[in-house]
Every structure is written in structure tokens, then in C-alpha cells.
Amino acid sequence: MIRRYVMYLFLLCGASITTFPFAWMIGTAFKTYKEAATPSLQLFPSEWQWHNLVETFQAAPFGTYFKNSFFVAFVVTTSVVLTSMMAGYAFARLDFPGRKQAFAVVLATVMVPFEVTLIPNFLIVNRLGWYDTYAALIVPWCTNAFYIFLVRQAFMGLPSDYFDAAKIDGCGHLRFLVWIAGPLVKPILVTVGLFAFLGSYNSLVWPLVVTGTDRMRVVQVGLTVFSGAEGVQFNLLMCASAIVIAPTVVLYFVAQKYFSEGLVGTGLKG
């Protein structure tokens, strides 16, 4: 009995350390400038300054940033789920010459640091005439080797009897993938989708490099520019951070149910 209380106490301590920065962010976001800049341990403002939200949106074009981020993240997520489902299925279920070699090449690209390909990628995108366009922000990210690997693992875990049965009934690979295998690995597809969205929405360096105008900026770049600006007020900075974080938290709560299932079924056991 006591042991259980100790366990909960321990977990609560951990949880408060984990969430303290968020609490501080929200508290500071709605303080007055003077209160936010005064050294104190006061977590919450003496009076909540809700108008800070409005001021933040006026201080920088966060509306445009959000529109860009959401559009880019939405297209990237959809494409990543589709491409990793297709490629994952091909690597797991189809037999063709060069399958092993192709898969090894795909896996090898996971190990290449992003910084290595940053400049050449920038040159390629520039050559294509994509500088400062949505295409530059979206196209290079429409597939991901690691997610192909995850989805492949999930497809490998399906009994091959399913496919044999479907084949006898006259079902080809594509129909099997869309109507049977795809829905069976839905949790992992949702997980991949969630990670793809987070990866796109939270990315910083690439958008920083390939966009140059406010019109094309995404939220992370916007926040970096905002926080690097001279004399930015603490409270508005925290308010901007809260605004940037909010959508991902909402999305996470929506996708949660599938997400934990997805990780159990990823075949991470080997």
C-alpha cells in the first residue's frame, strides 16, 4: 500500500518537473511586461492580461505564419502516409529483383545527417526555381525512409494467409493494400501521420534556408525571428511560444488513442 503511494508520489514529482516549463510559459504569457521582467517565483500573474494574445498577433504576422505552417504540414503528412504505405507494402510483401538492395539504400539515407544534404538540397531546389515557394517547403519532405521502415515492419507482422485468401477471391495487391492491409495497420499509419505532422510543423532549419520573405515564413522561423529581435518582451515571447505549441498539443490529444497502439505494433521487437 505504502509502496504504491511512494510510486505515485515519485511519478507526480517527475510530472511536475516535466510540466513546470509549460506552466511558467502560460503564467508569464499573461503577465504585464513589468511583472514578467521582475525576478520572482510567482508562477501566475496577479492579473491575467488576456489582451497579450492580441498584442502578440499584432507584433508579428503570426496569422500568415500559421496559414503557411498548416498548409505545408497538411500536404506533407498526407504524402508521407501515402508514400510510406506504398513503399512499406512493396518492401514487405512483394518479391522483385533488387528488393534487398533498394531497401538497404532506403535505410542508409536515415543515417545521413540533415546538414550534409542541406547545401546541395538548397542548390537543387534553387535550380528548380523553387526558392521561396511552397514547393521548396513541401516536395523534399514528401517521403521519409524511417517511416517506410516502420510501416514495412507493420506489414511484415500481418499473417500472409490474409493475402492468400484475398488472392484466391481474385483480389490484386493494390486492392488488398487499400481495403485490407491498410486498415489493419491503421494505428501505425496514424502514428506515422502524427510524427510527420510534428516533424513538418516543428522544422526550423530547412524553412529558414529556403524562404526569404514574410509571406512564405512558417511559425518556427517566425518565432525564431521574433525571439531574436532586439528588445522583445518576455511576456509576448512566452505568449508566442504558447500559440506555437497549442496546435500540436491539440493534435496529440486527438491522435493519442491510435498513437500508443501504433507503437506497440511497430514490430520494435526486432
Partner: protein, 347 residues
């Protein structure tokens, strides 16, 4: 949604897979007559793999080759000249290169060991809970889903030397103002600071680098907890109960029953975290403003590459260092695969 898909207007979409399958079946048939069994799936495979392999080729492999090519040149812009391996020898004999590599090692060691120990303890406690597991898992996962930029912005305020709550707290417990740590602005080594100067100032990781490490432990532990928990849940309960009946204590149960059983999960996490630690950039950049930190004391390999490319515009040199880093990552991964992978226990 289903109703819409079954309506007359959009119903044809449902038939696409079947139609394509029919076309593919004809191709299959032809290929089978020409070349036998292994070619049968080829048309389907080409169709399914083309988008991914095309994109990975253009934005993954081509840039890699270009990086290797660029690394053989020196100079800027149109004045680039072929220089052979000069960039590589320059990198390997540069002090900054090795100190960046050392910082990368400190960071990898600190984040992987730290995050793993914390996550393992929390996951094994969570695993034994009857109630509240979902709640805690959600809470612990929160930092992982927040953007590094936003989270780093918060931490910069928390660790602010004057107005940050951490130092305010330290003042309350009696630390005098001149002894307050400067956290992210402190280039001196932690060992030097902790031992009151028994170690030289430039020995070991700087306090600023340790702050980046702590930040990343905070930011990434949630992911490890969730994965470890998934691995633990897959262990049959009877095995641990049997160990308890045999009189195994806490350590023995973990060492001889639990760890071997979840070793595939641990191995996966290890491989992924090493790759991630060697590629870390965002947290350095967002926490210190330029990634380099005070007196370059947080500069790791990726920051060094970034600085060379963007601040000094040394494309060739930056590319050479990047290629060296990629080689280091590949070697490390292969070594782990060979020597650690062998100890992994598969059922």
C-alpha cells in the same frame, strides 16, 4: 465519409485499385511468360516504389553525392577550385574540428545515458501501475511534441541569469548573487565549477553544454518512456512473477528478466538515439542563439558545419566536415549493430 465514398459522384474512386490491379495483372502475365516468377511482382513494385525512391533519390542520394563532390573544392562561389582532399586534411588537423567532435561525444553520452536511465525507471514504475498509466504517459510525452524552438525559448527564460526563476530560487535558498550560475552563458567546465577549481576551466563539458544536454533529456525522455513502456507491456507477466517466487530482488529481476526481454527495444532506442545525438542541431541553435554558445563551448559537429557553410561561406570545407560526420555515424551504427546487436535477445 463512407456514404460520400459510396455515392454515385465519387464511387468511381473506389474502383481505381481494382482497375489498376487489372492492368497490373496483364503486365504480370506478360512478364511471367518472359522471365519467370521473380519478375511477376515487378510492375506493382515499380508503381508503389516510384514516388518514394524518386524523392529519396533526388533529395537524399543526389545531394549526398553533390556534398562529396563539393568537399573536393575550396574557395567561394564562382571562384571554387579543385583541391583534392585538402579540405579533409585541413579538417582533421584543425583544433576546432576535434573540440566540436568532443562536444558531440559529451552531448551524445549525456543525453543517451541520462534520458535512458530516467526513462527506464519511469517506464518500469508506470508499467506496474494499475491506474493512471495513460495520464502519466501523456504528461511525460508533452515535451516531445512541442517544437524545440518554442521549448528552448521557455528554457532561455527559465535559465535567465537575472530574471529566471531558477536563479531566483537559488537566491532564496541562500546562494549569494556573485555565485549564481550563468547557465547557458557559462563557458567554464562543470567539473571546474563543481570542484571549486580543482579541474582546469576548459576541462570536460561546459556548463552551457550541460544545460543543452539537460534540455534534451527533458525534451526526448517522453519518447523513450513510451517506447520502453510498449516493450514492457509485451512481456508476459508470468515471467516476472516466476522470478519473484524464485526470490529474485529488484536488481536481479531487472538485470536477468526484464532487460533481456526488452533488449530488442533497448537496442532500437540505442541505435536511434546515437544517430539523433550526432545529428542534433535545433536545440543548440535555439538555446544559444547561434549554436556555438559562449566561447564556442557548445559548438558540436553539426553547428560547426552550419557555421562554416553560413557564416564563413566555406562550402567545400563545410561539406568535407559533413561527409566526415556522416562516415562517423555510419561506422558507429555498424559497430553497434555488430557488437551490441549480438547481445540482443530475440525470442
Amino acid at each position: 465519409m463512407p456514404n460520400l465514398m459510396e455515392s454515385r459522384a465519387l464511387g468511381w474512386i473506389n474502383r481505381i485499385p481494382a482497375v489498376v490491379d487489372t492492368v497490373l495483372a496483364v503486365c504480370d502475365d506478360l512478364l511471367e511468360r518472359m522471365g519467370g516468377n521473380r519478375l511477376r511482382d515487378l510492375p506493382t513494385a515499380v508503381l508503389l516504389l516510384l514516388p518514394s525512391l524518386g524523392l529519396l533519390g533526388v533529395f537524399g542520394l543526389l545531394p549526398l553525392l553533390l556534398a562529396v563532390y563539393l568537399s573536393l573544392f575550396t574557395g567561394k562561389g564562382v571562384n571554387m577550385q579543385f583541391a583534392g582532399l585538402a579540405n579533409y586534411t585541413r579538417a582533421l588537423s584543425s583544433e576546432e574540428f576535434w573540440s566540436s567532435l568532443l562536444n558531440t561525444f559529451y552531448y551524445a553520452l549525456g543525453t543517451i545515458v541520462g534520458a535512458f536511465l530516467i526513462s527506464f525507471v519511469i517506464a518500469s514504475v508506470l508499467f506496474r501501475l494499475a491506474r493512471g498509466r495513460g495520464f502519466f504517459r501523456t504528461v511525460y510525452f508533452l515535451p516531445y511534441i512541442t517544437s524545440v524552438v518554442a521549448a528552448a525559448t521557455i528554457w532561455r527564460v527559465l535559465l535567465h541569469p537575472y530574471a529566471g526563476p531558477v536563479n531566483v530560487l537559488l537566491t532564496y535558498v541562500g546562494v549569494s548573487p556573485e555565485n549564481l550560475p550563468r547557465w547557458l552563458l557559462e563557458p567554464k567546465g562543470v567539473l571546474h565549477l563543481l570542484t571549486n577549481g580543482a579541474f582546469p576551466e576548459n576541462w570536460g563539458p561546459s556548463l552551457a553544454l550541460c544545460c543543452v544536454i539537460l534540455f534534451d533529456i527533458w525534451h526526448s525522455s517522453g519518447f523513450m518512456i513510451v517506447i520502453l513502456l510498449a516493450g514492457l507491456t509485451a512481456i508476459p507477466r508470468e515471467l516476472e512473477e516466476a522470478a519473484v517466487i524464485d526470490g529474485a530482488g529488484w536488481y536481479a529481476r531487472n538485470r536477468y528478466v526484464i532487460v533481456p526481454l526488452i533488449s530488442p527495444t533497448i537496442f532500437f532506442l540505442l541505435i536511434m538515439s546515437v544517430i539523433k545525438a550526432f545529428q542534433a542541431f535545433n536545440s543548440f541553435y535555439a538555446l544559444t542563439g547561434d549554436g556555438r554558445g559562449p566561447y564556442d563551448s557548445t559548438q558540436n559537429m553539426t553547428v560547426y558545419i552550419f557555421t562554416n557553410l553560413y557564416v564563413y561561406q566555406r562550402l567545400g570545407y563545410g561539406a568535407a566536415v559533413a561527409v566526415l560526420l556522416a562516415v562517423a555515424i555510419v561506422i558507429l551504427t555498424l559497430v553497434q549493430w555488430r557488437y551490441v546487436g549480438r547481445k540482443v535477445h530475440y525470442e
